[in-house]
Amino acid sequence: MSSYPARKTFTSIRLVNFLEKAIVYAILLAGTLVILTPFWWMVTTSLKTPAEVFTFPPTFLPHKIIWKNYVDIFQKAPFLLYFRNTIYVVLLDMIGTLLSASLVGFAFARLRWRGRDLLFLITLATMMLPGAVILIPRYLIFKELHWLDSFRPLWVPSFFGYAFFIFLMRQFYTTIPFDLDDAALIDGCSHFGVWWRILLPLTRPAMAACAIFTFNATWNDFLGPIIYLSSQDKLTLALGLLNFRGPHTTDWHYLMASSVVAMMPVILLYFFAQKYFIQGVVFTGVKG
């Protein structure tokens, strides 16, 4: 032991702390680099000439930025139509999901009725049910209804509710004090009124999370459209992109430009509504 043990330990602790922080930052930054590189790769490729796309080693930045690629893709494929179709399905799906999740969640969380708890358990169980097992019978039902090659199979079920969103809403409803309902009921408000006037405004954050998740899931959906849609004028973005690829395409600048365009709405939504995204994920993932 030296005569100034305290001081010596102090500096060495500081040094260790500093090194530790440096390593942590280095790892985290390396991680973000790995995460971001594919995006960078996609965006730069989308702005290159075909000749520059096929160079090795690849260029870090395009020699000349070809914005025209983004104009060309809209002439090469009916992207606006794909967008319109996708937005149509996404909007209807969102409306259906929000309406059903809010109402059914309310019934599960704040009303007492016979069979409720059993039904809620069944609802939880269906969340675990792999989609694969009901894929084929569902297809056959929609075939019987003559809904194949229409958008209906993609959005009609949302008005009946999805277990996950009902669960999310129900969990959120249970965090709001019940005195609110009681007070409103004593004042002569109906249960429906309690939902509409009092709780609906209070559940806005959870509704936002539901809306965002639905938007994303439907926007990115591929299995649904590929099973139910076949006409060229009904393709959604996911199918349109695939079509755009062709059998042995080499137009990677166009393919990457169209991928950027297809991802853009989701990315923008993520940046602007990130708070709700993360709240929603955490709410269902940790508390669920």
Partner: protein
């Protein structure tokens, strides 16, 4: 003020009024409840329970859309188990994908979450970046990764060439196609990461302080405090991961078409082909049941085992 649902699954029971004969108001509540849940009950029968039962029936038929369904007993299952090598290939490919990608994703996600939880500056920005790939999925992402994995022009092989390695032709190599898809799945590590991060932030700091007073180092603190405290979150992620990974479809369809030589023939892709390309609805329903049973068995196994490794705080407090 959030109620912990794990400990209080039916919260309104706690505010139940004393039992008496159903008043007018209670009847109204009953009626409204049924009305509001009505669409869900109908939907449950129409889109979930009905199809589920129908799939059970179809699996015992030779239905092919074009002709009437004939009852064929266990033929489909016999064929699946004993005469269809592709069934086993698909099962193997999907299992490898799940067994490798889930633990890697969980370990990497937890590791990064622990780093992010070390009072880091720029946490919000880092979290935003890490979570970004998790919100993207589908065809656009698959196309992007085809290009990333391109043998001659791809960025991965370029990076490998910097350290003197000649990269394989990833997606068109029987050996490397599945590892490539697993690598790609790690890009989405953010989805678990932010949940772990939230879980870590919920661990009471007193526990760590107490351990430090007792002289516990970093590893003991991790094994004795962090891991047990977030084990419920890990369990949840593991189950979600199993259900998701065993039903991968888009990547296999878009990026490799199940190839080369069925090296990436994911189960759902094989099921899809049987159902919608070969129109073997009966056989595909048997496949659907097989994957259903497989997923359920694994989930039950995990849940059973969880008693040994998942720790609920309620247990020491003596409340439930």
């Amino acid at each position: 003020m959030r109620t912990n649902s794990a400990t209080n699954l039916f919260p309104s029971a706690t505010h139940a009024q004393p039992k008496r004969k159903m008043s007018r108001m209670a009847r109204q509540e009953e009626l409204t409840g049924w009305l509001m849940a009505g669409p869900w009950i109908i939907g449950l029968i129409l889109w979930t329970v009905g199809p589920f039962v129908a799939a059970g029936y179809l699996a015992f038929t030779d239905y092919d859309i074009l002709s009437r369904a004939n009852f064929v007993g266990f033929d489909n299952f016999e064929r699946m188990l004993f005469a269809d090598p592709l069934f086993w290939t698909a099962l193997k490919v999907t299992s490898i994908y799940a067994v490798v990608s889930i633990p890697l994703q969980m370990a990497l996600g937890l590791f990064l979450a622990i780093l992010l939880n070390m009072r880091i500056r720029g946490l919000t920005l880092l979290r935003t970046i890490y979570y970004l790939p998790a919100v993207l999925s589908g065809v656009a992402v698959s196309l992007l990764w085809i290009w990333v994995f391109s043998a001659d022009w791809g960025i991965i092989n370029f990076v490998l060439s910097l350290v003197g390695i000649t990269g394989p032709s990833w997606l068109s190599s029987e050996k490397w196609a599945l590892p490539a898809l697993i690598t790609m799945s790690l890009w989405g590590v953010g989805s678990g990461l932010i949940i772990y991060l939230a879980g870590l932030q919920g661990v009471p700091t007193e526990l760590y302080e107490a351990a430090e007073i007792d002289g516990a180092g970093r590893w003991p603190k991790f094994w004795q405090i962090t891991l047990p405290m977030i084990s419920p979150v890990l369990l949840f992620q593991l189950i979600i991961g199993i259900i998701g990974a065993l039903q991968v479809f888009t990547e296999g369809y878009v990026m490799t078409e199940g190839g080369p030589n069925n090296a990436t023939l994911f189960f759902l892709l094989y099921l899809w082909r049987n159902a919608f390309q070969f129109l073997k609805m009966g056989y595909a329903s048997a496949l659907a049941w097989a994957i259903f049973i497989y997923i359920m068995a694994l989930t039950l196994l995990v849940l059973r085992s969880s008693a040994a490794w998942v720790f609920y705080i309620g247990e020491i407090k003596g409340r439930s």
